[in-house]
């Protein structure tokens, strides 16, 4: 559940605009919704082969989110109207997981909305360092968090204003890379997408 806290707030980065990324003084492009498929690779020192996951991310401003993994375990995280729920597929049926820390998710939501409405280097959690070739490095301000996430590497998708990949480094040999594809910006999304698994 811990990574959910991190990856979900990372999901806000999918909506980061090129203007935000390349020019801290630029205003945000209005983001109404974002949808994208993703492939996630987990690399770990002990792993001979990375663990590959696939899923789909759906966001609708201001604070509706569907973060779904299809494989290897079908899970759905829903955030809508101030409510956060997590479901896991068991024997073909979704079962709600309890005790997932709704309060924690509110913190996540603050991060997401912060990235959407403001500048990336304004976040109280990370320091943003724009780099060449469309990369941005985020480093945690807090040492306690740095022990869990050493840095986050963002790769922008050309000039589309969308993210191509997010790589979260936990340590020298441990990282999680999410590569996004088939991204769709500002398309209408039914409310039920954020309410039902």
């Amino acid at each position: 559940m811990l990574l959910r806290i991190l990856t979900v707030f990372l999901s806000g980065l999918l909506c980061l605009t090129v203007a935000q990324a390349q020019d801290a003084g630029a205003r945000s492009v209005l983001i109404r919704s974002v949808q994208a498929d993703f492939v996630q690779e987990k690399h770990l020192a002990i792993l001979a082969h990375p663990i590959v996951s696939t899923g789909r991310f759906t966001f609708k401003a201001p604070v509706s989110l569907r973060w779904e993994y299809f494989t290897p375990v079908h899970t759905v995280l829903l955030m809508d109207d101030g409510r956060t729920r997590k479901y896991v597929s068991q024997n073909g049926e979704f079962v709600e997981e309890h005790g997932m820390g709704v309060d924690s998710m509110q913190i996540v939501l603050q991060e997401i909305t912060g990235w959407l409405d403001g500048e990336i280097n304004d976040t109280p959690t990370f320091i943003a360092e724009p780099e060449k070739d469309g990369y941005i490095i985020l480093r945690p301000r807090d040492q306690a968090l740095a022990r869990i996430v050493s840095r986050i590497e963002l790769k922008l998708m050309g000039t589309s204003g969308l993210m191509e990949s997010v790589t979260l480094y936990e340590g020298p040999e441990s990282f999680t890379r999410m590569v996004f594809a088939e991204a769709v910006l500002n398309e209408a999304i039914l409310p039920s997408v954020f309410r039902q698994p």
Binding site: L2, R4, L6, A45, I46, A48, I51, V73, L145, S174
Partner: protein, 234 residues
């Protein structure tokens, strides 16, 4: 900085929650004691066939296994994580991570029994937790270092008994339908683990149980439901 602190607190909250799930009691009643052994009325070839059947339950060679693991407690509450097990000879490497890939625990137990914890978020940074987890993983996948005795083991019938001098006793009993049940007892003959291994499948030329139900009885008991996601030869 307040938000950062809240964020870190949230992470700690989840760690504590998961630890509680791990440690919460969901089993009751008197502990099971090691049953007596009755001589098996089998010829040597039949006994050898039973032994080989037992040995086939354990992993031989170098493998990477990935399971989804659901920790359960009373009132139907539970949480699901991914478990990674890398077996190389007698060396066991284990990682516990969220479905999203965030590593909660990573450790290695070498052939000499030396434990090295590479990562353990609080409160998993507890030596007893690490030792207990690695013991469970070793029990699940590696055949005990002992010659199994084929005998009738209590009500569950014919099976293999491994008497491991320093650790205790492991009973492995085939049950109808191709499944197995395993009981692990300490040196005081009290059961410490009960494991069901079900629905064996072939992956990458190896046989593995697709479903594993592990129950640790007692005040700090827990149940785990493990589902095989992948088994890859390395």
């Amino acid at each position: 900085m307040k938000q950062v602190k809240s964020f870190y607190d949230a992470i700690k909250f989840f760690s504590v929650l998961l630890a509680l799930l791990l440690l919460s009691s969901c089993t009751r009643g008197a502990p099971r004691m090691l049953p007596g052994m009755l001589s098996a009325e089998l010829n040597p070839e039949q006994k050898e066939a039973v032994r080989q059947n037992c040995s086939g339950v354990f992993v031989a060679g170098d493998w990477q296994l990935v399971h989804s693991i659901t920790f359960n407690m009373d009132l139907g509450r539970g949480t699901t994580v991914l478990g990674v097990t890398v077996l190389s000879g007698a060396t066991v490497k284990t990682g516990l991570m969220t479905v999203e890939g965030f590593v909660l625990f990573e450790a290695e137990l070498d052939a000499a029994g030396q434990l090295e914890v590479a990562r353990a978020l609080p409160p998993f940074d507890n030596r007893n937790f690490a030792q207990g987890l690695m013991r469970d993983v070793k029990t699940l996948f590696l055949e005990p270092v002992a010659v199994p005795v084929v005998a009738a083991l209590g009500r569950e019938g014919m099976g293999c008994r491994y008497d491991v001098a320093a650790e205790g006793t492991v009973d492995l009993i085939p049950i109808p339908g191709g499944s197995f049940v395993m009981h692990v007892y300490d040196r005081e003959f009290t059961e410490t683990l009960s494991i069901e291994l079900k629905s064996f499948v072939t992956q990458d030329s190896g046989m593995f149980p697709e479903k594993i139900y592990l129950r640790a009885p007692g005040i700090r008991g827990y149940t785990l439901k493990m589902t095989l996601i992948s088994a890859e030869k390395i």
